[in-house]
Symmetry: C2
Subunit: 187 residues, 2 copies
């Protein structure tokens, strides 16, 4: 009823439903894979949006299947709403990086501890970059150009972050030079 514009999360769900009816669970899984690297969503929200969108007539729930699976399919109104959303100016990007907060307040923190945090995060980013680059190498062909473009963003982002990590020791009051040049991963 209320024709307030969609939010980006709901719109994405409609986008995925173009490929055919899916359940909330499927949508979460799909979203994680396809847009998870630059758009976060949670189960709770997905189910909530689906309920709301059904009430608004943008999707239609089908018969409940085996495991309480409730598939939703796109309606014409939903297709319409998706198009309208897609044509609106996308909002500004948001970064929230807790590590940068910790660094910003680094004056109050033991340098060794800070160094440990930094090392941990660096290895996370290194792993992600490796992932992305594998994807780019392997099967970049079977991706559509749009997916390749967002993947490229990821690669460049991770590379930049890693370079920053490399330069950090020159910028920050260092750990008192312990067994530091061993980038070991202890888990």
């Amino acid at each position: 009823m209320t024709d307030r514009p969609l939010n980006a999360t709901a719109a994405s769900l409609l986008g995925f439903l173009h490929a055919g009816p899916m359940t909330g669970w499927d949508l979460v899984a799909t979203a994680e894979v396809v847009i998870g690297d630059f758009w976060s969503l949670t189960r709770s929200q997905v189910y909530r949006e689906l309920t709301a969108m059904e009430a608004a007539g943008l999707v239609q729930a089908g018969e409940v299947g085996p495991r309480e699976r409730r598939p939703y399919r796109l309606t014409d109104a939903g297709r319409e709403a998706f198009r309208r959303w897609l044509e609106r100016e996308p909002g500004p990007e948001q970064i929230r990086y807790p590590l940068l907060l910790t660094i910003a307040f680094g004056r109050h923190l033991d340098p060794e501890r800070l160094a440990a945090f930094v090392a941990a995060h660096r290895s996370v980013h290194a792993a992600r970059l490796a992932d992305y680059e594998t994807l780019q190498g392997d099967g970049s062909d079977h991706l559509d150009p749009y997916a390749r473009a967002t993947l490229d963003f990821g690669v460049r982002y991770e590379r930049a972050v890693l370079e920053w990590f490399e330069h950090l020791p020159g910028l920050l009051p260092l750990p008192p030079a312990a067994g530091d040049d061993r980038p070991e991963a202890d888990t």
Copy 2:
């Protein structure tokens, strides 16, 4: 009472209060300048957190001044809580970039429109980079090393994004080659 761990926003406020008593308004302004590029907060939330933290004994409200100004000052408990927060492993970073969503669903969108969105965002990032680099050039000296480190992150991030924008035309089904090769900045 409830000694649940602080959230990052509340903790940041405590961090800023180390410099002396401040009002909610001041805290918002400070936060915007100091951590605004990688941590967002809103007035509403700041006031809510302050109220909650006062109830928890982490800050103490002073006399109400001229314009209903209500300065808060750090208590010992607050200082303690801040330290404990700062020593906890900072969480993973979050990026939410609506433009990437639009691109990911670009198949459903008119290429010209997509190109327009891209151009608009590119100029935003260009402007931010210019800002950061001015800051780095000018007065990088009067910044503490920690601020310089976070600024460096910003610079590298924006540079990476801009490079990505440069490469996009090679990845995406292009706009039908309108007056495109003029990277004009209209403002």
